[in-house]
Amino acid sequence: MVRLLRYGTIFGPLKDRWRYLYKNDLYKRRIEAGPEPERFRSSLINWNYDAELYACTHRFGEKMNIESLRNAMTDASFLNQITKQRTEAGLAATDQTTLSFTHNEELAKRGEEIAENFLRRALQFWYPKFPKEGIDAVMEFLISESTIADISLKLGFKTLIRCDGPSPRPKMLKNALFAFIGAVDENNDRSRAELFVSDFILTHLVGKDINEIWHIKNPMGLLTKVLEENGRQAPESRLIWATGVSSVLSTYIVGVYSNKEFLGKSAGATISIAEEMAARDALRRLFETDEKRASIPFDKLYKHGLLIDK
């Protein structure tokens, strides 16, 4: 790793002058050429689209027609591009009837419907006490373009999607994933599509706390409201413990009680923060979404009684 250098050896531009100049020139040319342009994966020599699609059906264990998968992976922009090219070339056949494939807008709509329906039912089934606004917030997070595009990217749809650019935009990634779900529904039955949703979209909740996805602005107000609905007394907070009160690293632990019954507790750097966090803790205990609650059994939701159609 470390070598001793002999005295008298020459380095740099004085040794092999021609090589120095040559490499310097190559370097300058590379800088001038700029970054390499993004290319379609299909432009490389090792590319067989049919084989890729065939592998894709086997990857997720879905038995489906290759043609429907090809439609699911075709974006609207690709079709627009093709028709544009044809009109420029002076070809008459520009309408969709003459082309052997369509774009995935309809399939995507169908897939999104399935996904939304299933996710809402699954969340309501597993967290029955979690309020509707909370489930809406979680749904919004799961269905959002960034989440779905991320999932789609990690499922390897980036190279399979046919669109006008070399790298598909998030919207296209999202459409492709939903279209895939739609295609599964089309080729197999509904439950198979829902299983796909539960395997790849619902698992995005692992490692995330749904109480934090749904941001409650006034936890104490919500707690009083929830307790009123249940016919219990209003919450009152008590200081359980405090240390280092006048130091920089102060810690307060505040508990929330209703009619001397323990609801929740939390620590905070100040009393107000601790109280707010204690209210949040009480809320998640009431909604049964706290840490000790088991996670969603992704592969056994039906076994537990979640019906396919309702």
């Binding site: 706390d209 109480n211 934090e212 413990w241 405090a242 240390t243 280092g244 009160v245 006048s246 130091s247 690293l249 810690t251 632990i253 939390s266 620590a267 905070g268 750097a269 601790a274 966090m277 949040r280 803790d281 998640r284 840490e291």
Partner: protein, 224 residues
Amino acid sequence: MAFNKAQQLATFSRVWYLFDAKWQCPHLSGEKIARILRGEHKPIYYPGESTGDCVVAINTRHVALRNDAWRAEALHVRREYAKTRYDIPLFKLHELDPTKVLHLCVLNCMPMDNTRRYDMARLYTFPDDAVPAHLLRNVCDQIRGSRVIPKRLDNVTSDDIEKFPQMFKWPKELVLDDLDRDKFVRIVPPEEIPKRQVMLGQRAGRQHYWFHVSTSRHEEVKIN
């Protein structure tokens, strides 16, 4: 991550302990306090992490050393140059700084590593009951002593003394009324006490002090 943040704060918060050093052995309590300052009493303790707690020690003027330690034990100070070492006996040290004995005992129980001084910075020692209010407000727990606080004879009522079981009776001629001290003891004025100078320039030893060691102020002399 708000819940995690609160949990983190709760787990790693520094607890402030109070320790009353009155009639406690500083060596034993030093062991106890050093453990707390290093955080070894916590399950989250890990050698590289600073997980120690803060300790406010009061009444350090009233610590109780064992046997003859006040006189016999000394702080040995080695200065860097030759023949400049000296000893300070603990009673003298205690006169100079009443918090120093407990402080040194705690420091002695700390392992010799880099975090030692930082851990010691979390120890607040006060000679008496007087503690700044802002420090006392921080306190939320108290360390129990490691020695039973003895009851002094002047605090015990005469009834209790009479009630206390007597194993045998002393012969009358052997009993002296010890509480009536003036009868038997004369306080010698300082002029009469012979001055004894400690020689300088000797090797450091236990009896080699840098200051003048006077003999005790009052000598017990039997009059009759």
